[in-house]
Symmetry: C2
Subunit: 140 residues, 2 copies
């Protein structure tokens, strides 16, 4: 149950973007973020593609273009970011969907361990949703 590099770098990149935007309210070129956090432009592009799809960043193309946060960092949660990067943070198939093959018992899913995964899933998401991007960069 390791967190992917996508999630690690993605969150770092979002922090970086938020910090730069707090400093001067301009669009930030992806290359600047990539350099700061130490990944290639091309790799980071892919992460931002996921983030954009989830509307966690907005962009403008062309020369002088770049990315901005679509809303205040106080209203963007870590949970949203990680779910965008980690395919919904689905821990086991059992959770958040039909429980067909994994459990062997789809309807109602009374498989012994279902309750465990369910509770774990909720706990993780609650935890991550309780942290905003703003609170992270403030290191609260």
């Amino acid at each position: 149950m390791k967190l992917s590099s996508k999630a690690r770098y993605g969150l770092k990149a979002m922090c970086c973007l938020a910090e730069r935007q707090a400093y001067d309210d301009k669009v930030v070129a992806l290359s600047a973020i990539a350099e700061e956090i130490g990944v290639s432009d091309k790799y980071l592009e892919q992460l931002f593609s996921s983030l954009k799809k989830a509307e966690l960043v907005a962009s403008s193309r062309g020369a002088g273009g770049g990315y901005v946060l679509p809303r205040d960092a106080r209203y963007i949660s870590v949970g949203e970011i990680l779910r965008a990067l980690e395919d919904g943070l689905v821990i086991v198939e059992c959770v958040s969907g039909e429980c067909s093959k994994q459990c062997g018992n789809s309807e109602g899913c009374r498989c012994t361990t279902h309750g465990v995964w369910d509770k774990l899933y909720k706990t993780i998401n609650d935890c991550l949703d309780s942290m905003s991007l703003a609170s992270v960069i403030a290191r609260e």
Copy 2:
């Protein structure tokens, strides 16, 4: 951040063992558990090897041998089981160890996102430690 099959099958197997032991207090052959939860003997052997190392099962070899819980199911937590199967449930390297390459800032680790992983790690473990094997098979 998916849970491994090891963890899924391992917990199921532990539930199965606990249930059988509650029923009649004998050692349970691994093959019986493997059949019930639908994995091969050989695969399950590996999981039990990890579980044994963590002293979450005890075994007797030879004909008529098998596995037993070394203590009451009320005093075995899901957290213990999953940590044994999932390499300590380490979410990111940053957590529970030196924070060298991943963060780029080892001492004190003030990397922006460290607090997030730390909190997440604690939350997950607290959640899992709060569930005993007995409560799981009782479906509480």
